[in-house]
Each structure stands twice: as C-alpha cells, then as structure tokens.
Amino acid sequence: MVVVMQEGATEEQIQHVITRLVGMGFDVHRSTGVNHTVLGAVGAPKEVDPRDIELIEGVREVVRISVPYKLASRSFRPLGTVVDLGRGVKIGANEVVVMAGPCAVESREQIFTIAESVSRAGARVLRGGAFKPRSSPYSFQGLGEEALKLLREAADKHGLFVVSEVMDLTQIPMVLDYVDMLQVGARNMQNFNLLRALGNVSKPVLLKRGMSATIEELLLSAEYVLAGGNYKVVLCERGIRTFESYTRNTLDIAAIPVIKKLSHLPIIADPSHGTGRRDKVPPMARAAVAAGADGLLIEVHHCPDAALSDGAQSLYPDQFAQLMAELRIIAPAVGRRLA
C-alpha cells in the first residue's frame, strides 16, 4: 500500500499516519519529497481497509498494491487453470469450448431436437435451465428435476456434456446427479453460502458475473469456491448494466483480457444474455473469441418464437451452425482452435 500525503501536509499529520501504519503492523518506508511525502507500507500481517488510512487528515490518496483475492490471482497459478470435463474437452486449454442449448428445458422433444442440432454444429456442452425463477412469478418456472433428466439423456445421446444452473444450496445434491458442470447465475454471484457450498463439490463450477459486479467482485466470488478446495472454476462474462438501453446488457469484452491477466481461471462469454437480441449474438460471439475467450455459452432454440423464455436472444439452429463455421476461421487467427 502506498500512502500519498497532501501537498503541505504537516509533520504531525505525517507522523500520525506513520503511527497508525506501524500500529497495524506495517513496515513504513518514508520518502519526503519537495511537495509530497510518500509512505510505502509493506508487509502487513492482515487485510487492511484503505479507507481507514484515506480518512486521516493530511492524506491525499491511498493506492493498494496487492489484490484482495489470493487463490484466484494469476500469480497463484501463472500457467493458468485447465478445467477438464473429460473425453478431451478442456476449458482453458488451447481449444475454445462452445456450450449451447435453450434457455430452459421445455419438453423432451425440444431438448432432444436442440441437442442434436448443436452437437452436429460442433458444440461440446449442452446448456439448459431446469429452474427458472423469472421476474414475474406467473411466468414459466422450469421443469425442475424432470428437466435435468431430459438434459442428461439428450446430452448422452449426442456425446455432449451438461451444464445447468443451481439456484440455491438445497438443489446442489440433485443437480450434481445429472450435470457435468454447475452454473451459478448472475443473480447468485454474491450468494456466498451457495458459493461456499460449491467449494466442497468435486464437479466444475461455471460462475457468471453479476450484472452490476466489478471484475474484482467476480474474482472475490470465485475465491469463495476456490477457498473451499474446488479449483475447477470457469468464469463467465455475460454483460453488465450500463446506461445503454438498446441492448439488454453491455457485453464487457474488455473483461476477457483483463481477467486473463488478473486470474488463472478460464473465462468464457455469454453473448446471448450479453446482448439480449438474436441478431447481435454472432458478432459478439466472434468478438469474444477474438478477444481470447476460452469458450462461449450460447442460447439456441429450434423454434425461438415458441420458446417459453428468452426466445428473442436464442439463435436458430442454422444461425448457430453458421456462427460455428465463422468461429472455426477466427479461432486459428488468435492461436486457438474450436474444441
């Protein structure tokens, strides 16, 4: 931590800050400049809230050098984490892993039809929601365990893995029985009890960024899972709330290279929620892969107009196949290939 004193800070003010820092356990390196005195504080034994120092009289600003997340930090695993789903499908390795499927599992016919088409187009993971708490309590709420059974069956038939969202603690054992990767939705990103519990499971976790969460908050949420001992965490950028209203959210493509630098965890993008509009999904999917995403999470529906949820952001199967063809060209341009 570096403490910059105000221009003209008095010797008493400087001494007061040093007293506080020394009391907190820091070794202080004082550097008296012509205008500003700078205090380097190193080696604190525990986490310190920079605001405690910033509020002391005479302090201009406090710059934190170390990051509050440890296990999620790139320095913890400089070579990066690879989440191995099995059968050669690895997230965070050279391949870009595409996960596709409907927003919600609606029927056997629906999920089998979609699984068949996304598998044919080259997706390796089947997505689909079983629990769908919607903004309105009167909207379709999902098929629950029945949906998980159908997902598993459809995925197995077409050689796909399954990712599905777990909404709360109590659902973990049931969801674990059917899926290969448990998804934590954007609204649950800071459900710390759920995250802690997922630290104890042996299957990978797909953690979506909250719609108002900073990158640091996302990494701190991942830290909860990692701290429990589950290192199989994949992050997902899915768009954040901004002042722009044309798209449902603003897909923060820049978060991909930023997270690559800050963390060792794989990062994928969800251009479907990121834009909320079908026609904008392929361009953002292409951009995400070009920016270095380790995978994509895309909503596909064989009949979006009849979808019970999020039809407007679901691709038609032929649009999805077209996108996959484009990604096969883009991925090699950035040194990757499609899984």
Binding site: E11, Q15, I18, T19, V22, G23, M24, G25, D27, V28, H29, R30, S31, T32, P45
Partner: protein, 96 residues
C-alpha cells in the same frame, strides 16, 4: 586517479558502511528488546526528528541536507523494522 581507482575507493567505503550499518542495527535490536520490556511504542517520531537534526548539524557537504535526510529515512525505516522483529511482531496485536 582512474575510474577503477575511484571505484576501489568506493568499495572500501561501502565495506565500512556495511559494518557501520550493521552495528547500528544491532543497537536498534537492543532498543527493540528494551521497548518491549518497558512497553514503549515502536514508533518514536520525536527521536527520529532528533536524528535528522543531528545529521544536518554534522553535515559538511557536498550532500545537501535534503539528500542526507532521504538516505537516513531509509536507514531509519530499516531500523524500525529491526526493532519490530526484536519486539516480536506488531504492537497492535498486543493492544487487541
């Protein structure tokens, strides 16, 4: 004298400085132990101010007072660190 001659001279001075700095830090460690026993706080701004006054009084140049002060700030920083170790950890732990 050549550059090499001067560098040799600097090396000799550095050797003395290292010896002196270590003598100084041994003193600091002793003070740290006494501070702990007498329950005196680690950071003593008045004493540090006294040191800066002492060195500027003795300063015959060519280093400016400000330059000498910057050098001694680092020496004092390390002295404080040695004292902390001699005191056995942070003082705020004992306050809590």
């Amino acid at each position: 004298m050549t550059i090499d001659d001067w560098r040799k001279r600097i090396d000799e001075i550095d050797a003395k400085l290292v010896e002196l700095l270590n003598q100084r830090s041994r003193c600091a460690a002793e003070i740290g132990r006494l501070k702990k026993r007498q329950q005196v706080p680690l950071y003593q701004p008045e004493r540090e101010a006294q040191i800066f006054l002492n060195i500027s009084r003795r300063n015959g140049g060519p280093l400016s007072d400000a330059a000498l002060r910057r050098v001694f700030e680092r020496i004092i920083d390390e002295g404080r660190s040695v004292e902390r170790q001699a005191m056995g950890g942070s003082e705020d732990e004992k306050g809590k």
